[in-house]
């Protein structure tokens, strides 16, 4: 149940984030909206690998190697999410640098003002 709930939340976060990215004209707000959507994606990925009643994929005294397969949850999505989070940060940083430069150039952050190239 927790998994479904989390996945639903993740999806909603994505939709909310995309909604913001589509309607906000302020570039900084668009980037904020994308980070929200990214968080949503991360939640979905982790939640898809979740299995109720199992523990984190770390072996210790409580989870011996022999029982591992029966006790832990799928570690792979977690590894993927780590990558996704870092990539998300990289993209965000890049977009922020862009925002800064765009502002420096035009003194505005309104996306509607950057439509010189078209057709």
């Amino acid at each position: 149940m927790i998994a479904q709930l989390s996945i639903a939340t993740g999806f909603l976060l994505i939709l909310i984030g995309l909604y913001g990215a589509l309607i906000q004209r302020n570039i900084l707000r668009m980037i904020v909206a994308f980070t929200v959507a990214d968080t949503g994606v991360n939640i979905v990925i982790v939640a898809v690998g979740f299995m109720a009643g199992r523990t984190a994929p770390i072996l210790d005294a409580a989870v011996p190697v022999a029982d591992a397969a029966a006790r832990i949850i799928d570690p792979l999505p977690q590894a993927l999410v780590l990558t996704a989070i870092v990539i998300g940060l990289g993209t965000t940083a890049l977009m922020l640098a862009y925002a800064f430069k765009l502002y420096e150039k035009r003194r505005t952050l309104d996306i509607d003002k950057f439509t010189d190239l078209r057709g």
């Binding site: 998994a3 479904q4 996945i7 639903a8 999806f11 994505i14 939709l15 995309l18 909604y19 589509l22 309607i23 898809v48 690998g49 979740f50 299995m51 109720a52 984190a56 994929p57 770390i58 072996l59 210790d60 190697v65 591992a68 397969a69 832990i72 799928d74 570690p75 792979l76 977690q78 590894a79 993927l80 780590l82 990558t83 989070i85 870092v86 990539i87 940060l89 990289g90 993209t91 940083a93 890049l94 922020l96 640098a97 862009y98 800064f100 430069k101 502002y103 420096e104 003194r107």
Partner: protein, 236 residues
């Protein structure tokens, strides 16, 4: 208004796709083939207690290399974009930048805290194969130490040379270790170039702690470089 309506319409369509995905989702009762392999072999073959770490550093090491490279790229580009103007547009006539002095408390606190934070970062990535956390988390912690320094003294000029030297050396060694794996062990980034050791010990899991430390250093340096580049921008 039309824009909002259209956005909602499109997102309703996308939501429809998501809803069917969710409706079709059935949680696994058993580990699937891949996960089961990791559960059974990660500890035995690689000697890593934290299976997520084993996957990140070894099994999917290529992803992680790519991920580190993403940060490297982001840091490079942020540096490229933000420092470019300053080189070409020095303003010699202007007085040195001044800012309201930062409180004494922060300055002193920083001096006290930063070494501890750095130590914590190192601890986190050194223990990545045993406990939650690792290179990325440790790197982020190191970067937060740098951030604190920046906040305490905004005018402080970081030695970009030092940061990029750390970053580059860590990166080079990372690749080198990977290639050693290719030559001596089963393949690129194979951690079994060093003995697996005893499960749960600090010095164990082959090259994982080594690689994860390098990742931690590199990530920390990359974050720091990004923050430093941003902080050095002039106010518009």
């Amino acid at each position: 208004m039309v824009k909002r309506f259209l956005a909602l319409l499109l997102l309703a369509g996308l939501g429809g796709i998501f809803a069917s995905l969710l409706a079709g989702y059935i949680p696994d009762a058993e580990l699937n083939l891949t996960a089961r392999y990791y559960a059974d072999h990660a500890a035995g073959d690689l000697g890593a207690a934290n299976i997520v770490t084993a996957i990140i550093v070894t099994y999917r090491g290529l992803d992680t290399l790519g991920e580190v490279t993403v940060l490297f790229l982001a840091a490079s580009i942020v540096g490229l974009v933000l420092t470019h103007r300053q080189k070409h547009d020095p303003r010699p006539g202007q007085p040195a930048r001044t800012r309201a002095p930062v409180g004494e408390l922060l300055t002193t606190g920083t001096r006290f805290l930063v070494p501890l934070i750095l130590l914590l970062g190192v601890y986190v990535f050194m223990n990545g194969h045993l406990t939650p956390g690792g290179g990325f988390q440790g790197g982020a912690i190191i970067a937060s130490g740098i951030l604190l320094l920046l906040l305490a003294d905004p005018l402080k000029h970081f030695s970009h040379g030092l940061i990029s030297a750390v970053e580059s050396l860590a990166g080079l060694f990372y690749i080198l270790l990977g290639l050693v794996g290719l030559v001596l062990a089963g393949g690129f980034l194979d951690n079994r170039i060093l003995p697996a050791g005893e499960l749960g010990a600090l010095i164990s899991a082959g090259a994982i702690p080594l690689i994860y430390s390098l990742i931690g250093l590199k990530v920390g340096a990359e974050f720091s470089s990004m923050l430093a580049s941003l902080s050095e921008t002039e106010e518009l």
